[in-house]
Amino acid sequence: MANVAKVRPWRSLILLLVITAGLCAWAFWPGQSHTPRLGLDLQGGTQVTLVPKSANGGGDVTPEQLEQSVEIIRQRVNGLGVSEAEVTTQGSGGSSAIIVSVPGENRQGLEQQLSQTALLDFRPVVLEESSAPTPAPEPSVVPTPSPTTTKKAKKGSSARTATTPTPTPSPSAAAPDPTKMRPPIQAPTNSEFLQRAYAALDCSKPENYQGGTPDKPEEWLVTCSKDGSAKYLLEPAFIRGTQVSDAQAQLPQNGAGGWQVNLTFDTDGAKALADVSTRLVPLQPPKNQFGIILDGLVVSSPYFQEPILGGTASINGNFTNQQAKDLANVLKYGALPVNLQIAEITSVSPTLGADQLKAGLIAGALGLLLVVIYLLLYYRALGIVAVVSLMEAALLTYTVFVILGRTVGLALTLAGVAGAIVSIGITADSFVVYFERIRDDVRERKSLRVACETGWSKARNTLLAADFVSFLAAAILYFISVGNVRGFAFTLGLTTVIDVVVAFLFTRPIVALLARSKWFTRGGPLTGVSPERLGVEPSRELKEARAERARRKHKEEPVTAGVGSGTSSEGESE
């Protein structure tokens, strides 16, 4: 309290001005969207919340499994050809959820496509054909001096394994007619129908390697590789993904041939592998290959070098560390990383979205108006300071939303709007706490100038403590919850921080400046802190100052001076 004299209001104000100007420039720079990104409930669209559940019943979903699921879902969503579709995760461990947002009109059937379990299976290759203009050269076998239990395999000509980054669909690609014969094309036998489909299939077209539809393991299959570089005709599956008990990326002991993926199968899988590998090894390429199919697309198509009898195998093909890890992840989790349960589907039409946005804005405007009226009536001049502070806080909040919407894709939902409206009250509360402290000190017969300082030093800690609790609530809500609650919590946390910034860098210095103005310290009725109104006798100095003023006014001209100087101090507060 002793060092309250060292206030430098201008410094804080300039700092805030720089911050505000910076945010505004960033938010309102020409050529970009100047409005916050709206959530689906405000712009219309479909949101599906999927909850991953560990497939084998026990244990939490691991981060790798979650990542793998998201990857698969992203692939499926991209397959829909909606350019703005979004896949995000929330939470972690047992409480994680995958949220798919598709803006625009209602989409029926979206959820079915999303919730299907990704299916991994191993199928013998019957035909393989590269769709690249210049066929990739047939790969050479990499001999690795490993134990016989190792499956020597080389990646198929085209399969670049799961390392391929998620195919980004060209927006126009899938738009025309997604129901036409798109892979996976299946038939119970290797029929003429399937042969025709194979012949007609053009895997260089992006819509043909979007995948997303799990294949039926017991049927024959015509499909593309994941990156569209080759097409395949495959036999029914001989190993299901569930039969892979483990997959690890490893460097071979002698270090030759880059990274490899070591596989372990369960008893049934080992037996099937032994049978099939024995059958395939003597055949000509591509018939000595098998395809690893994930969600209807061939992820990799290595060939057998020798029969694999021991239930463990390794795939090697000069993989990089990352490639090997990705393939191992596909093998380990790809089949059933998790069961995806549809937790919630919400579909909001654009009309309803617009209505809700309108309601939110009206509520916000009304709430702000009520608070402004109350503050002005009760605190007068200080009320103006409070109102301008609120405007500053609103401006900061808006720009931060615009910026975050553009950079990290933060969407403003109806709950977020509600959070912002509620925060009007919380922000104004800070001013009330400060102003009441000033008034308390005036009641203790301090001069206004002193009361503005001592009031602040007392209010400051209260403000920080109370805002910290609010922030704590928001942060905990944010990290623990999902969906709507999260949007609300984010807004609340953000506005709490902005509240502190505005109170320290704006309200406080403005009041300090006001305390220097003669009009304010005379404590007229319009200041909102006149000693008379607070029920105390004005101090002797104050009386003298008023008398002095009255004398001068009398000498010059009788104008309603209170109002005149009132506007001057308003100018100061802006």
Partner: protein, 395 residues
Amino acid sequence: MSKPTSLASRLYRGDVSYDIVGSRKRWYTVSGIILLLALVGLFGRGLNFGIEFQGGAEFQVPSANCSVESVRTAAQNAGASAPIVTSLGDSRIRVQTEELTPEQSKAVVDSLATTCQTTAGEIKIQLVGSTWGAEITKKALTGLAVFLLAVTLFLTIYFEWRMAVAAIIALIHDVVITIGIYALVGFEVTPATVIGILTILGFSLYDTVVVFDKVKENTRGILGQSRMTYSDAANLAVNQTIVRSLNTSIVALLPVAAILFVGAGLLGAGTLKDLALALFIGTAAGTYSSIFVATPFLCQMKEHEPAMKALAARVAARKAGQERKASEKAAKVVAGGPSGSISDDVASDDDTDEAAAAGVAGAAAVATETRKERPHRQGPRNQPKKQSRSKRGKS
């Protein structure tokens, strides 16, 4: 406006003082009754959970071309058994059903679209699996537990553990009341309601922190005097912050009221209304509890401390002595002589002392006008205390 303000300042100076801490039994009874009602509601009627918690399907269809009855028939024809059909505002009809598979839901949507002559795209659909509701509830409860722990820790560090306990008790009080009212009235509990209730946590604590901050200020160095007990000082703090608490609550409630009004009026139901309703009840309860529950409870705990007991004994002894003197003095005041000695002493001292005197010697309050004007005090607050005590010791 001038009347409440002057009341405010009299409250501040302790001229008018409501003995809130002393009459805690009354407030506990009031809270007890409300809590009992809330609990009866909670366990008797139970909460009306929305589909988000139970699982189920909800459709909202523009109602320009159809009635509630025709919509109900359409939903039933499409295979929804016992749909709950209500109209929202005047432009939408809401249909709630049991959990539906996506295929069933599609059938309902198509049927509704035909009945109301609109397109499937215009219908709001929400399908919630029943396990998800359990998940949400679990998360909300986890959040609550983590929050309570964190806040208790913070308040213990910032204030002391007794204040933390009192604050948490007030918090639970508010939340139970809010939930209870929901149960009693039968409002639907949706995730938005949960958001509202979680926000109340922050709000209720905000209020309590403001009051406790003043209590902390007033009770600093309280053991170094013998004029007021902890409860007296805390009671003064409550009285001094009543106006502030009212103002913060009004300011906080205004926007909430706006949401409530617009949410209920324009949309009929939904996120805005559910949220605002919970907030409105909770904030009101929060203001009440920080004054009438948290502080008396805190005092009860504090008065159990040996040091505070000793203080209370000292104060009582001193009071007995002073009452004698005060009655003598009061006689003098009535006789006409302005009593300078007490009021002078008071004004020069810390505000706790000021109020103590005001509380102890009721007659001194009348003497406000006789106070001399004095220069502003800017030095450390507790400085004059020791001297004043020794002076008083002699007298």
